[in-house]
């Protein structure tokens, strides 16, 4: 069976199968970075899962979340249970563009490594185009060794299909780089795939802290292309494209802003410090356009 056919069969299985709500994905530890990931025995080998009879996945339709109000119509905010949570500010005036409203996320210096502000889409999404307009805080003068990440990603940890993650990330200590990654692990822990790459976009004077950029990735059944552009009318500057190990299952979109104790930057291995101040991330909007597949 070809890869395309296999994907088609998988999608059919998904659409056919019944289901219940899957548990909310929980923030996991940073995935292990494998320098030389083990190549699956046969990337084209179709997955033949045993789909649970009660499994159901509700797919979201096209949306554009502008963060113009205190709540979101498409995302749940990962508030703490105790009510004393000062990390999420939706509908907040932009910190850099007069008259615009944003989602402002703040780090909490009391959060441990791997923890931070996270928003998760209410339901699953699938092949399509994902984009976000955002600006990271400029912390290089005040705390150049800060270990803090922004991950705009699709994720799921499925009992049958395993764990998949497609990420476009930024590091606060590295204003000039964009970090793309793809991660997979079978449900039984086999067939690990870990692609992790820091890329300097081919845009003049790219500085993720200086202004808002539009970042995104296009996910189809046979390719993922990560990209960035400086303004809506610009052409996409492709950061990376892969055509293997493409996740076949619907995933859940989320934005995570957190302290990482081990995700150093491409040129600063010591950028792992906990935040000394709740440095603010601003997100103008997040968009999803499903593919016609």
């Amino acid at each position: 069976m070809t890869g395309k056919l296999a994907s088609f069969a998988l999608m059919a299985l998904f659409l056919f199968s019944a289901c219940v709500e899957k548990p909310d994905p929980v923030p996991e530890d940073d995935p292990p970075v494998i320098d030389n990931p083990t190549e699956p025995e046969d990337p084209q080998k179709p997955i033949e899962p045993e789909v649970p009879a009660d499994k159901d996945v509700t797919l979201m339709e096209e949306f554009s979340e502008e963060f113009s109000g205190a709540d979101s119509g498409y995302f749940d905010f990962g508030y703490r249970d105790d009510g004393e949570d000062f990390r999420f500010f939706s509908g907040f005036p932009s910190l850099s563009e007069n008259g615009n409203t944003i989602l402002m996320l703040r780090l909490d210096p009391a959060d441990g490594a791997g923890n931070g502000a996270s928003i998760s889409a209410r339901d699953y999404t699938y092949y399509g185009s994902y984009s976000i307009r955002m600006r990271i805080p400029d912390i290089v003068s005040v705390q150049p060794k800060l270990g803090a990440c922004v991950d705009f990603e699709l994720f799921d940890d499925d009992p049958v299909y395993g764990r998949d993650k497609i990420t476009l990330g930024l590091r606060l200590a590295d204003r000039g780089g964009v970090y793309v990654s793809l991660y997979h692990l079978d449900a039984d822990g086999g067939n690990p795939v870990s692609i992790d790459e820091a890329i300097v976009p081919g845009l003049s004077d790219f500085n993720a802290a200086a202004k808002n950029y539009i970042y995104g990735f296009d996910w189809s059944e046979d390719a993922i292309a990560w990209w960035v552009k400086a303004k809506p009318s610009a052409d996409k500057t492709i950061l990376k494209e892969i055509k293997e190990s493409i996740p076949p299952q619907p995933l859940r979109l989320r934005l995570r802003y957190y302290h990482s104790g081990n995700s150093s930057t491409r040129d600063n291995a010591s950028a792992t410090q906990a935040p000394n101040y709740p440095y603010e991330l601003e997100t103008d909007w997040i968009k999803y356009t499903p593919s016609q597949q």
Binding site: G83, F86, F89, F92, P93, I139, S141, V142, Q143
Partner: protein
């Protein structure tokens, strides 16, 4: 006495009471409370870029509280008024001023930062000189409060004098209460130790854990022509704790401002005023730290203000 005559006499007495005078002078602010509920302040003008002010937004530290945030810009030049600053749209005068403020917590991020939060009155009026009353914090050490005034020599309004007191409110220690003036090159002088009018209170009970950056506090001052009292509300009991009850004078002039002023709050980088506990704290801010202001209030003493204007042909 006929009832009608009694009625008229009573009415005249009532209207003659100065405490009931209502100030309708359009040059002055009436009583107000600025809650910063809207996108722009109702009673204050802002200066500089709109991206320095965030009004009617949720507090960054207190649930259910709407605030105004000020954001300092690391590229702002040093100096008072070079950062975010708000000023009342009209003048103010004798009265009670109060505000609820939380200064930025930068102790870990930048312990040597040189940044001032000023909650104050300020106006230089031709013929009268400077009228300034201050509450100030140097955010490198938010356990200290700087209070005081700046006034002009009535004979030459360009010659200034400062009276001031600096307090560590976490310990209750008064670091100093002093004055300085142009007369002798702005050298600091301590008030005479017997001068109760200038040194009251001589001791201040500490507020346990006081740290202006850890929570909101209500600060205020009551300004009379012959008395100026700075105070803070105890965060647990609400008790008004007197920080300085100044009724004194100096060898030159009293130190209590007399002329009308404007009501202000600002947030700026200083490169030459280090906090008393850290002589290195003069760095420019390396990040646009947020300052939070819940509200600012003004309650004028109308009768005193009307009388002052009449007496001074203002």
């Amino acid at each position: 006495m006929k009832p009608t005559v009694l009625t008229i006499a009573l009415a005249l007495t009532v209207f003659a009471l100065p405490a009931l005078a209502q100030d309708t002078d359009s040059r002055f602010m009436g009583e107000f409370t600025e809650n910063f509920d809207s996108a722009r302040p109702e009673y204050f003008n802002t200066s500089g870029s709109a991206l320095r002010y965030y009004c009617g937004v949720p507090s960054l530290s207190e649930k259910g509280t709407g605030v105004m945030l000020m954001r300092i810009n690391p590229s702002d030049p040093a100096g008072a008024g070079r950062g975010p600053e708000i000023t009342t749209k009209k003048t103010t005068h004798f009265g009670t001023y109060s505000a609820r403020i939380r200064v930025p917590d930068v102790k870990k991020a930048q312990p040597n930062v040189g940044v001032v939060v000023g909650y104050f009155t300020y106006r230089f009026t031709r013929g009268f000189g400077l009228s300034e009353i201050d509450f100030e914090w140097l955010i490198a050490d938010p356990t200290l409060i700087y209070i005081g005034t700046w006034t002009s020599d009535p004979q030459n309004v360009n010659n200034l004098q400062r009276v001031g007191r600096t307090i560590n409110l976490a310990t209750g220690r008064i670091l100093y209460t002093n004055y300085r003036s142009y007369h002798d090159g702005n050298r600091n002088h301590n008030f005479d130790s017997s001068d109760d009018a200038s040194l009251t209170p001589r001791t201040i009970a500490p507020i346990e854990g006081y740290n202006a950056s850890k929570q909101f506090y209500v600060y205020g001052f009551d300004w009379y022509p012959d008395r100026l009292t700075w105070w803070i509300e105890h965060p647990q009991t609400g008790e008004k704790i007197i920080l300085w009850d100044y009724q004194g004078s100096t060898p030159n002039f009293s130190g209590i401002p007399q002329s009308p002023t404007t009501y202000m709050l600002n947030y700026w980088h200083t490169r030459d005023w280090a906090v008393d506990t850290n002589p290195r704290s003069t760095e420019a801010p390396k990040y646009p730290y947020f300052l939070e202001v819940d509200w600012m209030k003004y309650q004028p003493y109308d009768d005193i203000n009307i009388e002052w204007r009449q007496n001074n042909n203002y």
